[in-house]
Amino acid sequence: MISIYLYGKLRRYAPDSRPSGNSVIEVEAIEDETLQMLLDRVGIDIEELYTIFINHKLLTSRTKYARFLGYQQVRDDTCQSWDLNVVIKDGDRLGLFGRDMSGLVV
């Protein structure tokens, strides 16, 4: 099973979308399925995403905080080409934050 935790406006994709609880989509894992394929399967629009966590670690974010001061960037490429080819395995947990919850500055 893969658990997708949703926050902010993204919660509407989950069966229980109240902010006070966990809004989670649970799906069976499919072998060799990438994040991109998984998001397509559950119907989440990538355009809406701002920050993605996998197993509580930051996978990617649209932010470009302080590039000109040498701040750590999550990915060298920009958010136009996210690395969504990561294979998502059984037991993984995803945490997805939408553009309305753009709080993280990495």
Binding site: R18, L59, T63, A66, L69, Q72, V86, D100, L104
Partner: protein
């Protein structure tokens, strides 16, 4: 007319308006409070004794027409909590009014001969020393209300609650917000006790018919303001209906929790199962449901275009407290194992009324819980700790001294402090960049002095954390310097997000400062100017007896693994020492 420094001596009740000396002419805000403290306060003095001062300074652009989100006031001096130099800044009404009276700074010094309390009333005609005995023993909600009834023109009220009267090390300085509520605090480091030690309960500032703020180069100012406003309006976090506007700073609760960096139950875990119940999303839902006076998108002072503040409503819709911030909801929530926003709001109101810093207060309650005085999650018990402080019981006075004193009183060794000040809402074992800032800043553990929030990065696809430990020190210094500059401008630190993302905004900030002051400052100078402020602060601390051995995180973080990432603090001491190795006496 050039700006003046207003010196108020409480020993002889004399005031003087002095020209700003050359050596301070280029400073404002934090730069000025630190320069004056560095020059005039003996670093070895007792913070509550006659030789400490409270220096109050608006920023460079504060009070200038329509500079966005620029109403901050800096409060500086030597901290009774840390023994270091301190600058704590606040929103609220004071900055713009002090600036519009033509004042670069107010220096409050000396100690009254008689055991008497005063309200200082400052307006265009000068300073009056009013008897404050009627306000003694009162909390800030009453004080603000009484002083607005007593004085015309809806003045700024800078004041201390009972904690400041008792000179407790966790006493903050309150500034009223546009609704005349005491929700805005120069909270950290106990500057309220330093003000209390001068015998001053409140300062009323009325800027009616004041000279206003001169603009040296209006075109340059307007150009800078335009760029800055555009960046703020464009960035996802600060734009209208963006993260801060919709959810306040508490937008971070679910994010930092997901990242495993939310300090929980006195820094024993990095995730709290009740985080969602305390989150900004939940606050927004409650505001929507209860209606009435509750609101998100509130401004803490006139002219803020980000509007991250909120008014948290009681069940009947009446205003319970403003503002429920991320730090507050974390300190009194996750860190105490409490997942009830109504209680967190009530405790926040107590903090605002008594005049204590919410971060230190929450951490102190967590220590009491760790010690078994209370159970983790005991919200009733947590709320009652504030009665102890209000009544000045021996236990209340211990709590009011903050985390270290409470930990000593109860024999607790998991003590999340640096230089005597407790950590805010980012676990440094999971978010290592902020750990460097906590360890090395001149202020004691403080997130605002170098906001390097980089959580664990997923090392998938062969990619690993791109930032080695050694690089984090240089980065932290750059951010501490940028922050020292922004804290001097009068702009709210939250403009950092758009201007660090959108380079034009960065230039715009510097140009607006240059436009108001006539100083030759561009975006390229920001870091160097910030470093000059840091240098003064660092040298003050050195003279006060601090050494690199004080730039360390607490020991338990080196041997206790933090779930869910199961990480310890591993940064080498030598790397931490690099951060300030460049500071030498001239």
């Amino acid at each position: 007319m050039g700006k003046k420094i207003l010196r108020i001596n409480m020993s002889d009740m004399q005031t003087s308006y002095e020209d700003v000396p050359e050596k301070w002419a280029r400073w404002a805000g934090r730069g000025l409070t630190s320069a004056i403290t560095y020059d005039e306060v003996d670093p070895t003095c007792h913070p509550l004794g006659p030789n400490n001062k409270v220096v109050i300074a608006p920023g460079w652009v504060t009070g200038s027409p329509a500079a966005p989100s620029s109403g901050r006031t800096s409060f500086g001096g030597k901290s009774p909590l840390t023994g270091t130099i301190k600058e704590a800044n606040s929103g609220g009404l004071s900055g713009q009014k002090i600036a519009k009276l033509g004042l670069a700074a107010i220096i409050l010094e000396g100690v009254p001969k008689k055991d008497k309390w005063y309200t200082l009333v400052i307006n265009k005609d000068g300073v009056e020393f009013e008897d404050a005995s009627g306000l003694i023993g009162k909390g800030m909600y009453d004080v603000d209300e009484i002083l607005w009834e007593q004085y015309p023109n809806e003045p700024a009220v800078i004041g201390i609650g009972q904690a400041g009267e008792m000179k407790l090390s966790n006493a903050g300085i309150s500034v009223n917000d546009p609704e005349n509520k005491p929700g805005r605090y120069a909270g950290r480091g106990g500057m309220g006790a330093v003000m209390g030690a001068r015998g001053v309960k409140a300062i009323v500032v009325d800027d009616t018919d004041g000279p206003g703020v001169d603009i040296a180069d209006a075109d340059l100012f307007k150009q800078g303001r335009r760029k800055l406003t555009k960046a703020i309006g464009k960035h996802d976090l600060t734009k209208k209906d963006g993260g801060l506007n919709a959810f306040g700073t508490n937008v971070l609760m679910n994010i930092i929790n997901e990242a495993g960096g939310l300090p929980t139950r006195n820094f024993s875990a990095g995730q709290f199962e009740g985080a969602a119940l305390n989150s900004g999303e939940k606050v927004a839902e409650i505001v929507e449901e209860r209606g009435g006076e509750g609101m998100t998108g509130h401004s803490c002072h006139p002219g803020c275009i980000i509007q991250c503040s909120n008014i948290y409503p009681d069940e009947d819709g009446s205003a319970l407290v403003s503002c429920l911030e991320y730090e507050t909801a974390w300190a009194l929530g996750a860190n105490c194992g409490i997942d009830d926003l109504d209680y967190i709001a009530k405790m926040t109101r107590e903090c605002n009324d008594l005049g204590v810093d919410t971060i230190e207060a929450g951490n102190t309650i967590a220590i009491a819980m760790e010690a078994g005085v209370l159970e983790f999650g005991d919200k009733e018990g947590a709320l009652k700790t504030f009665d102890e402080i209000r009544e000045g019981t021996p236990l209340g006075r211990i709590y009011g001294q903050g985390v270290e004193a409470t930990a000593k009183a109860f024999g607790v060794h998991r003590v999340p402090t640096v230089k005597g000040q407790s950590m805010p809402a980012y676990e440094p074992r999971a978010i290592k960049g902020i750990g460097v800032t906590y360890a090395t800043t001149t202020m004691g553990a403080d997130h605002t002095s170098g906001y390097t929030i980089a959580p664990e990065i997923a090392g998938v696809g062969g990619k690993v954390d791109p930032l080695a430990d050694e690089d984090k020190d240089a980065l932290s210094l750059t951010f501490q310097a940028a922050t020292a500059f922004i804290d001097s401008t009068g702009y709210c630190l939250f403009i950092a997000f758009p201007i660090l993302d959108i380079e034009e905004g960065w230039a715009g900030m510097a140009e607006s400062v240059a436009g108001v002051t006539g100083l030759d400052i561009t975006g390229d100078d920001v870091i160097e100017i910030g470093k000059e402020v840091l240098k003064m602060e660092r040298l003050f601390n050195k003279a006060a007896g601090f050494t690199p051995a004080d730039d360390r995180l607490p020991e338990f973080m080196r041997y206790e693994e933090l779930p869910p990432h199961n990480v310890k603090w591993t940064m080498a001491d030598e790397d931490l020492d690099e951060v300030y190795a460049w500071v030498q006496e001239d």
